[in-house]
Symmetry: C2
Subunit: 151 residues, 2 copies
Amino acid sequence: MKIEEVIKATVPMSLPKKIILNIMYTQNVIGENFNEIVKAHDLSPEQYNVLRILRGQKGKPANMCVIQERMIAKTSNTTRLVDKLLLKELVTREVCPDNRRKMEVAITQKGLDLLKELDPTIDNHENRLAQNLTPEEQETLNTLLEKYRTT
Amino acid sequence: MKIEEVIKATVPMSLPKKIILNIMYTQNVIGENFNEIVKAHDLSPEQYNVLRILRGQKGKPANMCVIQERMIAKTSNTTRLVDKLLLKELVTREVCPDNRRKMEVAITQKGLDLLKELDPTIDNHENRLAQNLTPEEQETLNTLLEKYRTT
DNA sequence: ATTTTATATTTGTATATACAAATGTTGTGT
DNA sequence: ACACAACATTTGTATATACAAATATAAAAT
């Protein structure tokens, strides 16, 4: 469905404007599905994201600003996200012995188990959308997005 | 900048996953800039969006569900967005005489003036990002995004 | 050693969002 | 006409987000 149909545009739009609306709307479509998946396991998308980052650390704990800089939405409130994950015992949080300003956050076995349980559904979601494109088109889309946002 | 660098990925990712992260992150970059622009005029991005929709009506008022279906984020609370715009006298809201369930929302001259003032900055923002791509690449990006989210 | 500056995280608060329930109105079937 | 379903919008509420200010620690400057 063309973006003009999605927003039922009444006036013609420039190509740059269409691109922006297209990206915004596509993100929304992705987000809605993603939200449903993680919500079924009592996670918010951002909470899932933090767990994913911590798993990527492969056992090494991450401090708050490392988590922050790896998140997609750079303005998320990491403290409160980690608070929520702590309550569910999906992560641990301790003061860093080398630098008492920093916190060491690590994923627990329970957190790893939850991610493992979610993995197939998430992968499926990612692949289902990408299947609309050939592998070459997928590469092109990826490259164009990166080029597009070059400052 | 490649998406792997943006989120400082420690493990290799599938192409479908990269595309999703790329779209989410690009939307974030766009959104941050856009937010700054409209915030300088005391609007939220969604408030701007409603004004834009109303201008597209060319004088004809729109009722709430028409506004809703033209928005990018389909879960926005249109009532409260219009409340805010009313307070600033950027729109009017009256009960529809033909069907008292419906409301007729229209943009005021003050609203039109505000949009006109914002237009060059918004266009500039849209064009600046698109300039990183050739016109052909812009077309391709647009087409691929639409194909990507085909259900 | 003490003040200043920079860093890391947390907290407060106002606003926004998501989603269910409530309200009021219109259309339909009997 | 009356009951009931469908529709359009609003309201309540819990949670999330954005952003500034506060707190605590460490590093640098004097």
